[in-house]
């Protein structure tokens, strides 16, 4: 931790010879700035992702159950969601600013919208994928509509739901870096700052970038593990 006041980042003119010379990678910079730059950014990024995917999943799940129970909105939603997903995050963040200001909420609304658009089609497709024979057998056993949903259709939809969650989580982590264009938060911010220097500071770009990619890959692996635990019978095909 440096005790110097004033702008700590980009930290040029201070630090070791490695940092001053902007060598390829300076471990000492990472060590010195883990606590004041990298670690907070990582924590913010995780918060950002958890909130966005959590809310997005809850909404998508509720909507999918509704649509499934009442057989609503099946086809048109596909195109609408694909179109919504084409709205570039950098533009969507800005377009929400007049409504919610330059705030954390703005970023979360945009991210929730993206996760919703990814998760809803996956969940409905998963629910619909139960084969007619299985449904027939379930009804034959005397299960009610609700029981069929919760005991047959949902468990069988788990692989598709987790496939959707993997895409949603990894995309949210990736898009979350763009939030730095709006707010000084998340793993995108150190990169944004480093790029703003007259000579971009390599170590900061590489370390924050590695954390973002690493976070995405770790979350993806955790979801694969979750699927193995929940549905050990499912093949590894829903990539």
């Amino acid at each position: 931790m440096s005790l110097a006041s004033g702008p700590v980042i980009p930290n040029f003119g201070k630090g070791s010879a490695c940092v001053r010379g902007d060598h390829t990678f300076c471990w000492d910079w990472v060590r010195d700035h883990w606590n004041d730059t990298l670690s907070p950014a990582l924590v913010q990024h995780i918060e950002l992702t958890v909130i966005a995917v959590g809310i997005g999943f809850a909404l998508a799940f509720a909507l999918a159950l509704l649509a499934h129970s009442y057989r609503l909105l099946e086809q048109p939603f596909g195109i609408v969601s694909a179109l919504l997903y084409t709205i570039p995050s950098i533009a969507l963040f800005q377009l929400l600013v007049p409504f919610t200001g330059i705030t954390w909420t703005t970023v979360e609304i945009a991210l929730v919208a993206y996760t919703l658009v990814i998760l809803y089609p996956n969940i409905t497709a998963g629910l619909r994928s139960t084969s007619p024979e299985v449904l027939e057998a379930a009804r034959g056993m005397g299960l009610t509509r609700q029981q069929v949903l919760w005991r047959v259709e949902l468990p069988l939809a788990v692989p598709a739901i987790i496939a959707g969650l993997r895409i949603a989580v990894v995309s949210t982590i990736s898009i979350g870096t763009i939030a730095a264009f709006l707010l000084p938060k998340g793993l995108g911010y150190p990169i944004f700052v480093a790029l703003g220097n007259p000579t971009p500071f390599k170590t900061e770009i590489y370390s924050a970038g590695a954390l973002a990619i690493g976070l995405a890959l770790v979350c993806d692996a955790l979801l694969v593990l979750l699927r193995r635990l929940l549905v050990p019978w499912a093949r590894l095909r829903f990539a």
Binding site: I90, G126, I175, L195, I213, F238
Partner: protein, 230 residues
């Protein structure tokens, strides 16, 4: 009131700066086209050939996971440190971004072609090239095009991020609120949105147009449609 004011400001900006916005849009299209071109040349043949020989599933699936996990800002930052500021590094960074969906979908689309159809073609004495050109590619087109569309939209939608690395294009306006004000930022955001939507719709239309008539009745494939052959 404030909200309405911000958006009318944005429309004023668009109406009063058509040439400026058009030239920025063209810059962005140029950057996107270059990136997409590189990605196509590299990933499409590779994916199709791997799919034809049913080899390298790990590469294709790995590319899709890695492709999604690589944030655009990180890629742009990394390539900037290697290739310097400007057009070259942004093109390469966006090309890497586009490689994932193109490689995965071109592999999957050819790999999943009905084995019976391919066996029949082999029985007729067709060569690898003939099978690929007459059987596999036509049947693979819808899914292949989904990959192209995803890649193209991703690249066009991400190109504004390149503004932090001297990218030119509409992103220059979005990251420079100090010069253009909120109305400029919003106006450029609308243009970015319109451009992405236009690319999406154009490629969607093209996808339907190139899909063989016999395949059109079936749904345009998403990632989950279609059961796995046992």
């Amino acid at each position: 009131m404030i909200v309405a004011g911000a958006f009318t400001g944005a429309f004023h900006f668009i109406v009063h700066n058509p040439h400026f916005l058009a030239s920025k849009t063209l810059d962005q299209i140029e950057l996107s086209a270059a990136a997409l071109g590189i990605a196509l040349v590299v990933a499409l043949p590779l994916g199709v050939v791997l799919g034809h020989f049913h080899r390298g599933a790990t590469i294709a699936i790995g590319a899709s996971i890695l492709g999604r996990a690589l944030p655009s800002l990180v890629l742009i930052g990394i390539f900037l440190t290697v290739l310097g500021i400007g057009f070259r590094n942004n093109t390469v960074a966006l090309a890497v971004l586009a490689t994932g969906p193109i490689l995965t979908n071109s592999y999957e689309s050819v790999d999943r072609v009905d084995r019976d159809a391919v066996d029949a073609a082999i029985g007729l004495g067709m060569t690898h090239v003939q099978i690929l050109r007459r059987i596999e590619l036509p049947l693979a087109l819808p899914l292949l095009f989904t990959g192209l569309r995803v890649a193209a939209v991703t690249v066009v939608a991400t190109a504004p991020v390149a503004a932090v690395a001297g990218g030119g294009g509409l992103g220059d306006i979005i990251v420079n609120q100090a010069s253009y004000g909120l109305s400029g930022v919003l106006g450029a955001s609308f243009c970015v949105m319109a451009l992405s939507a236009a690319v999406f719709l154009a490629l969607f239309g093209l996808q339907i147009a190139v899909t063989p008539r016999a395949l059109r009745a079936t749904k345009v494939p998403g990632n989950l449609s279609g059961k796995e052959p046992a």
